[in-house]
Amino acid sequence: MTDRCIIIGASHAAAQLVPSLRQEGWQGEIVIVGDEPHLPYHRPPLSKAFLSGEKTAEELPIRPAAFYDKNEATFYHGYVRAIDRVKKSVLLENGDVLSYDKLVLCTGARVRKINVPGAELGGVHYLRNIADVEGIQAHIATGKNAVIIGGGYIGLETAASLTKQGMQVVVLEMAERILQRVTPPEVSSFYARIHAEEGVEIKTNVQVTQITGEQTVQSVLCDDGQTFPADVVIVGVGVIPNAELAEQAGLEVNNGIRVNAQCVTTDPNIFAAGDCTNHFNDMYDCQLRLESVPNANEQAKVAAATLCGNPKTYNSLPWFWSDQYDLKLQIAGLSRGFDHMVVRGDQDKGRSFAAFYYKEGRLIAADCVNRPKEFMLSKKMITQRSMLAPELLCDESVTVKALIEQLR
């Protein structure tokens, strides 16, 4: 009997595990159990090109069906209820039991739900999968009102996509500014200005208290008494890692499934990769739970190598991107804990600048808006632990090319 590797969750991490497992020499079966009725697809376009209609569902799969056939990876549509670590098997919701030799948890994350009266009304949507977007798309029409709850990247991307399609968009943010969790005030105010210029109304310091309507939503009420008419409501208030399955199986879980630098959980036959993990990042010397495609891909490669007996260590720079209107934001590294910030360009005018974040004299992160060169430079500087002075970075009379020369 050949060995079987089961992957739970059919998304970014799974789509990278299949080729990586084969490249690392896995000769046994590969079975992917996923509860979405699709081949693994690109999730980032859901709030961007797919929502705005520039990309169709046919363009979303990460790899075609033929790829999985060729690599002898089979899909099993279903939801895993439990893991039996003693018998080394997984129990599906329909009662089926599948045994494994190696198991990889790629269960990702799910949206955080809001708990206010009316949250169950028709027209109230979240945004995590294709079905969610299809639900939202049914309401898109010129002149209709969209209320977005949550001013994080996904909420703002959604706002941009819907305004572009002629909708009247309001974003409601509980904190005193949008993007508060992820960027300093300078970058928040840049995005607030752009959205205002594009016609999106952003309200901060407001808490939603109720969503009203008969069958479907009609308006959104806030704690300060304001009411916003709504034909559709989209909630983007963060995600929760899908770690319960691991927790019930007795694996260590703490804000995600704990994995070591080789992507192994507390059971040597069980691995985890992607949004569901909580891992140690050597570069930042802390535990992290990331929500990003590059992280899912990288962890999948590491897990595959380790699983095949060629242990690899995860050590990569977190990075992220966000597309809104004509703005391409590329974020290198993590800015939390920075003690000094400099800006190249002017975030108060125009649509392009780069903000560099330093800690103890070293670059730790950068937010680059329409500045691909600065982004590439930052990636390089952070991984090289460069001490290149902030004064040089914010001096536009020094070209990026000249800066990169100084690194060599």
Partner: protein
């Protein structure tokens, strides 16, 4: 159907089908060619789909847009005929094209 040859840095060759209309990055992904990371899935946001074309094929692959130019300018292994594979839209005329991969994706 035509074909495209990807050559990894260590010389490993991958002859794959040319499905005209797809991006060069997607063709590499569809065939599991190692060495193309394509972290952003083709948004021209990551620079991890860098490829180097054989010189005679370069003119066939169309214009290099500004974003792509800027990202390529920063990749350490940039060559005269470098492209981001996600920005190259394949056509039937590309049958037989040879594409080299850099040692590292940044």
């Amino acid at each position: 159907m035509g074909h495209i040859t990807f050559i990894e840095y260590d010389g490993t060759q991958h002859d794959v089908d040319l499905e005209a209309g797809k991006s060069l990055m997607q063709i590499a992904m569809d065939n599991g060619v190692p060495g193309v990371d394509a972290d952003c899935g083709g948004e021209c946001a990551c620079g991890t789909c860098h490829v180097i074309l054989e010189a005679n094929w370069f003119p066939e692959t169309g214009e290099v847009v500004d974003d792509e130019k800027q990202m390529l300018a920063m990749t350490p292994e940039q060559a005269e005929t470098s492209r981001l594979a996600c920005q190259v839209h394949t056509t039937n005329e590309m049958d037989g094209m040879v594409v080299r991969l850099p040692e590292f994706q940044m």
